[in-house]
Symmetry: C2
């Protein structure tokens, strides 16, 4: 391990002028110079030590992608005059021939790949790395305790460079970085049920996530509107619940997505939301669903169509357990979410079968819900994994959760405190900071004045200003695993997927990687961050991600010229 004491010591030693406007998230510790350095034509990334003969395939692939990015990013520095502004520095720059990549203190023949690291229990993942880029042309060195750390370092290395014609260079050598994330869970949630997203769009999003060192893809894969997940043991679910035969995720698709994510340091946390948000199951198993498409929908669900699993039915419990068991087989990661948001009591009140079953079992609604949740968590715990729920399961309804349950705080950032007070680990997913869909107007029909329920639009500045430890005591800080931005897709599709996510989702990626302190020791601020986020946005575009501009290009070329009081 990179010793923590040494890490802390280096924070002090390297507290240097803030540099490398190209890095996002900004490393925890960073020292930069002001000399030019350019990549030699034969620039190579070379494995050292045990990696020379035993580099995992996914690390080799990551090196290949890094070399491709260095060659093809083609990003000119965002200054007036662009690459032309650096002509003098480029002329004087030394040439860098190699980046040497090594694992620290490892002589193992059995090196864990990036993928295996990404799927470890979250506390066991080691993402730390050090990177030194001398200005004199001697080899750069990237070292880490794990291939996952090396991958994060390669990601950083790929962001250091600009292009001028065929020259690939930096103007801030020498560069020394000691880096590791402040929080292990840095996520993005995608809802693939309100509207469908082909596999290619998800893979591209995973690429973009990896560029900002995200660690978790929270896949809200099914919901009341559609059930695109193909589960071989229950083929009717998608056959009748998907929007179209070609709008599904087969086991092979899931495997490909999970593997693609893992190779990019991203764990896939799938969610099968229960008992609410399950109307789509009524198409194949009508006997399992209460109040399917009941009207008026607003009385029975937060959005149409209504429909919830009959939570008091023993056969439903068996069905859900079998369903979760089947899905878990395909997922190597440590987490699985059973959702649990927005359970609607009216739906069960109007359902005679549920009412009869409650009487038969002599249960209240809350008791039945408790039984249901514990039943659904049983296969997860049995598989050695951690169940994940939305905040209502912890805060409402007196549900009994196992101590290590991970709770997603979504309704309001103000609710985080109440959840950690119960001793649960949390992920920040608050609608008031991190919901990417807010502000796009109402989508409900026949409602001219309708607006987004979570207005206004959550700007990157708002997301970036989030404090993960607000109202949380230092004793509780260890319960905060991180956070995620979320895209609910009532009004989204591949058409706007990139533009509604990027670069905004980079805001939380930095909040939870860097924390609230810059390498300089100063607090993070949107004022400091803006020029780096511009840089990331333009680099994302160069890499094929349709990220939107944050300002007129005129402003992007002139840091602070478009500040409020400039």
């Amino acid at each position: 391990m990179v010793p923590n004491a040494l890490f802390v010591a280096c924070v002090a030693l390297l507290a240097a002028p803030l540099g490398v406007h190209s890095l996002w998230p900004i490393p925890r510790t960073l020292s930069t110079g002001s000399e030019g350095l350019k990549l030699a034509h034969g620039f190579a990334i070379q494995f050292q030590g045990s990696l020379s003969h035993h580099a995992p395939a996914d690390l080799k692939a990551a090196v290949s992608r890094t070399l491709y990015q260095l060659k093809h990013d083609g990003l000119e520095r965002l200054v007036v005059g662009r690459a032309g502004a650096d002509t003098d520095k480029i002329a004087k720059a030394r040439q860098l021939n190699a980046l040497k990549v090594e694992l620290v203190a490892s002589a193992s023949n059995n090196i864990l790949g990036i993928t295996q690291n990404a799927n470890l229990p979250i506390g066991m993942r080691d993402e730390a790395y050090t990177l030194h880029v001398p200005a004199d042309g001697s080899p750069s060195v990237l070292s880490a305790n794990s291939t996952l750390g090396l991958f994060r370092g390669l990601t950083t290395f790929s962001q250091l460079w600009y292009t001028s014609g065929s020259t690939i260079y930096t103007v801030e050598a020498p560069i020394t970085i000691w880096d590791k994330p402040a929080y292990p869970y840095r996520g993005l949630m995608l809802d693939t049920a309100r509207n469908f997203f082909p596999k290619a769009d998800i893979l591209r999003t995973l690429d973009a996530m990896s560029y900002v060192k995200a660690s978790t893809f929270h896949w809200h894969i099914v919901d009341s509107q559609s059930f695109p997940l193909v589960i071989p043991e229950f083929p009717e679910l998608s056959a009748k619940g998907a929007y179209a035969p070609d709008q599904v995720y087969t086991p092979a698709d899931v495997q490909e997505i999970v593997a693609y994510a893992g190779a990019r340091g991203i764990d896939v946390m799938m969610e099968i939301d229960t008992p609410g948000h399950t109307s789509a199951i009524s198409a194949s198993y009508p006997e399992y669903v209460a109040c399917p498409d009941a009207r008026p929908w607003a009385s029975f669900a937060n959005e149409p169509p209504a429909g919830q699993l009959r939570l008091a039915s023993p056969s439903v419990l068996t069905f859900v357990q079998q369903l979760i068991t089947s899905v878990l087989k395909e997922l190597p990661g440590p987490y699985f979410s059973t959702g649990g948001d927005e359970v609607n009591l009216n739906c069960y009140k109007m359902d005679n079968i549920t009412q009869t079953q409650l009487v038969q079992h002599n249960q209240t609604f809350e008791q039945a819900l408790d039984t249901f949740v514990q039943a659904t968590h049983k296969p997860i715990l049995g598989a050695g994994k951690v169940p994940v729920v939305w905040e209502e399961m912890a805060l409402n309804n007196n549900v009994t959760l196992s101590n290590d349950t991970l709770v997603m705080v979504w309704i309001s950032s103000a609710n985080a405190k109440a959840v950690v007070d119960q001793g649960f680990q949390i992920v920040h997913a608050p609608s008031d900071y991190f919901y990417l869909d807010c502000g796009a107007g109402g989508w409900v029909g026949d409602f001219v004045a309708g607006n987004s329920w979570c207005d206004p639009f959550k700007t990157w500045q708002k997301a970036y200003s989030f404090d993960p430890l607000a109202n949380i005591t230092s004793d509780q800080a260890h319960l905060v695993l991180g956070g995620e931005q979320l895209l609910w897709t009532e009004q989204s599709s591949p058409s706007n997927m990139d533009s509604i996510i990027w670069p905004r989702a980079a805001a939380s990626a930095e909040v939870f990687w860097t924390g609230n302190t810059l390498p300089s020791g100063n607090a993070t601020s949107t004022s400091e961050a803006l020029s780096r986020l511009h840089d990331l946005r333009y680099r994302l575009v160069q890499r094929g991600i349709r990220a939107i501009p944050l300002q007129p290009h005129w402003c992007a070329l002139r840091p602070h010229a478009c500040d409020l009081t400039a």
Copy 2:
């Protein structure tokens, strides 16, 4: 001409059950049946009469594009079961072998093309057409007084059809349409100065505009941030004012865009905004610009950078006149805009040269502005064209405008009345209904709490609910030429161009084509419109326009199921 009396008579005759969910904008008069009809494999579009030998090239091209769309749209009907729901009707459907296309009462050898029609003075454009699609397999007939009308009819025809496998069919034959627009100006404004848009993106947008029968592309081509327009007589303007050497519009680009638009029934109305919004000119002609990039910018401009033409300088007047004269040569249409919004008095107060010139000429600011505007309009009027201004030029500052000046009402829809009270023709472009950029959050730097000045997001429902004649007397109604939705691009680029414009901009396209009355005689409503707008959105996607979904796909398949009170 299609006789107006006959047109009105047909409105009554054809007041039939509302059909053809696929049409947007919905025709003024429409009759549909419920029989199936499918295109024969050898389906052809055949010119009749004078067109047989003298069809203009742009009409021939439009026919080719229509045939391409019929073959490639590949849109399944938006119902549960999609194409499968229509199996029975398709099996019974007759085959349609031909659409006959004819000009009414024209035997001329010199038929005006679509392009020539689109560039006529706005009152002289005839966009009316009639279309009859019998159910019995006998040829369909499209007729109009002009090729522009025929083009509108081809656009309608292309929207009638769905796809089931290799079958192209409708389930609503017979169909009879008498149609013509309620307002001649149906526009979209694009700002290509805050961020640059390559030619290909503009051409694609023109295609999408033509699909909803838009008539005017309002091209806000330059602004304070950049000057991408290449003017051969003033090459330094773009050489120093464009963002990059390849981020310009050459005369050849402008010609191509104008020709592409014209062939699709769209006139290009270019705007060179003056005297404000001209900071970019200071890069090449610093002597012409007051307060360039003055700080704090908020004291001198509505957004950075500050900078306005020295309106009291005779050499500036000469320069602007020459500039406008040069640009006008490339533009065949009847309109040219000199802008005139957001002129900032402080900028001139701090500019010693302007103050000195005002004293020399013994002019107040208002008098100088009046002189300036009249001077800039002189070459426009001299070329037989109509000057266009933003509303401030009519409502503030006592500027003298020629009677036929066209005024764009943008600050608020409430200001339309004041402008028409002065006797000016107007185009509705109100920020409170039609600004596509609103609601995306603040973009000014170092301002965490910043939101869009024109919050909230303008939904399609809001735009669609616009009443062109609100507060306007019947005597004044003729002054309303139409309206447009507008995209200011501080936070937009090709990345989100399609998704921020479409399908929202279709809302005004229908408001100003159809007016506020449906073919049934009922008032238009978002409730009726939604399923048609879904249909358009899915068709746009099939045609390569990245239009966003308005609702979950589940709702799109089930009209009214997601209404507020459903």
